[in-house]
């Protein structure tokens, strides 16, 4: 195969799909953004099931007070891996998968700027996943520190922690390469006439997201590198005896960790900003303000990190600054929510599955955002730190925010990807089961947190039993409902009603001007970009 590809390139400028490897070699060696996007999406779904199974172990244990099924150590390992896998293995790759599939099609490019590096960004994920999941089976087990990997606990862990550290390094490389690719693609490969302020919002959110990733992932790499040398080479970054400080790790971690929240949220905003106008049959309200809001959220996200650290003894002035700065983020986020709602105002609404998920996102993400404002208040947060209120808050943002938006995008673009319409009935069933069970699982956790139930503990006091039963029932319901999406996707891949090039009459953008399924190389030449397909 090496020989054939070498033979093919001497002076040959064509890169059509003839002579490409087939079978497994196609996927391993591919330089096609659609192939790579597909691999990202399948990988993220597989990780989603693995991480989800781990969360069901947690909820099974929490079904009743006392210790039933697992040891406290194993419980901690499961909750750590659940978080790491969901954040780095499921949600982030899912949106990178969307970016791969959609950005070249939206801006009228033939592929990503660096097609080979694009494939490496994906193929770095399996080694990291192997390291993370294999850590369960080594002496000492997987890291049990929570995804934040705080020292001194993370310094005392067994070799599973080293595996997690290297997994984070590899994931970071993958994210940085993927982001450089996306930034370059967006800045350099747009079709003539598509100015930045006419670019689809999904591309805008990814431009800012990629910036956040390039700026913050190296910070995380530095933090875990210091953990590694503290563990094995006798440095004292996080040890007070040597003049270091465990709180230093928290500062560095959250300097990465807070932008990370928006790395997950911004592409979700982008997807929703496409779905809501399409099913409202109206242009997005306030395009320019949306762009500025995205940029503002991205920027401010670097200056709010210590709101995760109110109880670490930071000075009062620090607490006040971080409280106000955090609340400031609610302004651009509020602009976005306002614009989505206003887009629907007097629109000609219809409620297909993508729209349902987008609306589910809108309602539940707003709840998650508002509980975030509650937690931003220092005085309140000191009470709620490390309680189930925090767990409820970020699951409203991560699951009902990011995941629902990813589903909205999946159902929205599935006809474009497969060439077939999906089963609308099953899609709607998937939405309603998800919506109902999600709230059964996570809404009671607000009450548990307010009543003082601490998180990351496998046992709890008797008075928390009822809400935990409800929450566990919801979690299992939610978990098994997600298998429906597998059925829907496989059905759509295998067959179904033929999808027209623009299956949603209200949808705009270059991706809807090409046939469904989109050809292997969408645009061999830059397409003509006119006002009808413009977003701005």
């Amino acid at each position: 195969m090496q020989a054939t590809s070498h033979a093919g390139y001497a002076g040959n400028h064509d890169h059509d799909s003839h002579g490409h490897p087939t079978g497994w070699k196609r996927w391993v060696t591919t330089t096609n953004h659609k192939d790579i996007g597909t691999m990202y999406l399948w990988f993220s779904f597989a990780m989603f099931l693995v991480g989800g199974a781990m969360s069901l172990i947690l909820r099974a244990e929490l079904f009743a007070p006392g210790l039933q099924y697992v040891s406290p150590e194993f419980y901690n390992q499961m909750l750590t891996l659940h978080a790491l896998i969901m954040v780095f293995g499921a949600i982030m790759p899912a949106f990178v998968g969307f970016a791969n599939w959609m950005i070249p099609m939206m801006i009228g490019a033939s592929d990503m700027a660096f097609a080979r590096m694009n494939n490496w960004s994906f193929w770095l994920l399996p080694p990291a996943a192997i390291l993370l999941s294999a850590s369960i089976f080594v002496p000492g087990g997987a890291p049990g520190t929570g995804w934040t990997l705080y020292p001194p606990l993370s310094i005392q862990m067994g070799m599973g922690m080293d595996m997690a550290i290297f997994a984070v390094h590899i994931l970071g490389m993958s994210s940085i390469m993927g982001s450089i690719n996306i930034v370059t693609t967006i800045l350099n490969l747009r079709t003539p006439g598509m100015t930045l302020m006419k670019m689809p919002l999904f591309c805008w959110t990814w431009l800012v997201t990629a910036f956040l990733l390039i700026a913050s992932m190296p910070i995380l790499a530095g933090a875990v590198t210091m953990l590694l040398t503290d563990r094995h080479f006798g440095t004292s970054f996080f040890s007070a005896a040597g003049g270091g400080d465990p709180v230093l790790f928290q500062h560095i971690f959250w300097f990465f960790g807070h932008p990370e929240v928006y790395i997950i949220a911004l592409p979700a905003f982008g997807v929703v900003s496409h779905v809501i106008p399409a099913f409202s049959r109206k242009p997005l309200f306030g395009y320019a303000s949306m762009v500025y809001a995205i940029a503002a959220i991205g920027l401010i996200s670097f200056f709010v990190w210590a709101h995760h650290m109110y109880v670490t003894g930071i000075p009062l002035t620090g607490q006040l600054y971080f409280m106000y700065a955090t609340m400031l983020i609610a302004v651009p986020t509020g602009v976005k929510v306002f614009n989505w709602v206003t887009t629907m105002w007097r629109g000609s609404l219809s409620f297909e599955t993508p729209m349902l998920f987008a609306l589910g996102f809108l309602v539940l993400f707003t709840i998650g955002g508002l509980t975030g404002l509650v937690l931003a208040m220092t005085a309140v947060d000191i009470q709620l730190q490390d309680t189930y209120y925090v767990v409820a808050h970020f699951h409203y943002v991560m699951v009902a925010g990011a995941l629902f938006s990813a589903y909205a995008g999946l159902y929205f673009w599935l006809p474009k990807w497969t060439g077939h319409m999906y089963n609308e009935g099953l899609g709607k069933l998937h939405f309603w089961l998800s919506m109902i069970f999600f709230n059964i699982a996570f809404f009671p956790q607000h009450f548990l947190g307010l009543a003082g139930m601490p998180r990351r503990i496998p046992d709890y006091a008797q008075q928390f039993a009822d809400f935990n039963v409800i929450s566990s029932i919801g979690a299992f319901g939610f978990g098994f409902s997600q298998l429906l999406v597998l059925v829907v996707v496989i059905q759509a891949v295998k067959g179904g009603a033929k999808a027209p090039s623009r299956p949603w009459d209200g949808a705009h953008g270059l991706e809807w001007t090409v046939p469904s399924p989109a050809p292997y190389h969408t645009f061999e030449d830059p397409p003509v970009f006119n006002q009808a397909e413009a977003h701005g």
Partner: protein
């Protein structure tokens, strides 16, 4: 933005095995490192295997890119993509150093004064807020690394190498191949000299100054920052050597020589980081 006619068709490379080879290399490297750090047998072999696979991948991948470049397959749009990507890559490297500079800043401004504050007196009696510090539990005395010896010479070396690489660039754009090659050789020489002096400095630190990685936060930050910088200088010298070989083979034209410029940018970045190190690690 309108593209000139020559860029109307995109460049997409053929399928390539190198990404997968690179991933296997990293998996081996990570596994080998984990095994070695936990003193499990044969970790070193896995690590060496990882390096070998990585080297094969780098030769294969970059060889292919150089072949495509010399085969005139890259249009101006690809050239712009490379420039953007290199700039963003250097930005990510800057942020990597920000983590360590930030740690040093925090330790000097917050952690050490806090450990020496009256509130901590019961815990760490008699600990004083001075820098350099190896922390309140340190027992071995150590000597600080002074700025105006080797580090000052190293600063001069790196700043001069910034001049020589620019001189080489002038030679390239003026079609003076000789100047390009001599300039690159001088730059590599200065870089190698810098590394040699740094190795000497480390040996001094360990043998005479009793300054080690284990010397509290001073040793931690000193070796982490200078060590990662030295690693980047090593990478830079390696890349410059590749560019030198390519220059001697007659690659690059006065108009199209992104690889040279990318490496020169990287070299200047390494230079600037050193200036930061010189000020906050050695001098202040």
């Amino acid at each position: 933005m309108s593209h000139p006619a020559s860029t109307s068709r995109y460049f997409v490379p053929e399928p390539s095995p190198w990404p997968l080879v690179g991933s296997i290399a990293l998996l081996l490297l990570a596994s080998g490192a984990v095994l070695m750090m936990n003193s499990i047998a044969n970790g070193g072999f896995v690590l060496i295997g990882g390096f070998a696979v990585l080297a094969i991948m780098l030769f294969g991948w970059f060889g292919r890119v150089i072949g495509e470049s010399e085969g005139q397959r890259y249009n101006l749009q690809v050239d712009r993509s490379f420039r953007l990507a290199m700039a963003w890559f250097i930005f990510s490297e800057v942020m990597f150093f920000v983590a360590f500079f930030g740690a040093l800043f925090y330790i000097r401004v917050v952690a050490i004064p806090d450990l020496a504050s009256p509130e901590q007196a019961a815990l760490w009696e008699g600990f004083r807020n001075v820098w350099p510090s190896a922390g309140p539990a340190a027992k071995d005395p150590f000597t600080q690394m002074h700025a105006w010896g080797i580090p000052a010479i190293n600063t001069l070396l790196l700043l001069s190498s910034g001049v020589t690489v620019t001189w080489a660039h002038w030679g390239l754009v003026a079609n003076k191949r000789q100047q390009l090659i001599i300039g690159l050789m001088l730059t590599i020489l200065l870089g190698a000299l810098f590394l040699t002096l740094q190795v000497y400095e480390y040996r001094e630190a360990y043998s005479h100054l009793n300054l080690k990685m284990t010397t509290g936060v001073y040793g931690s930050t000193f070796f982490m920052l200078t060590g990662f910088h030295g690693f980047h200088v090593t990478l830079g010298v390696t890349m410059l050597t590749v560019i030198l070989v390519r220059a001697m083979k007659g690659h690059f034209t006065a108009e199209r020589h992104f690889a040279f410029e990318g490496v020169a940018w990287y070299w200047h970045f390494v230079d600037v980081v050193w200036l930061g190190l010189f000020v906050v690690i050695y001098w202040l």
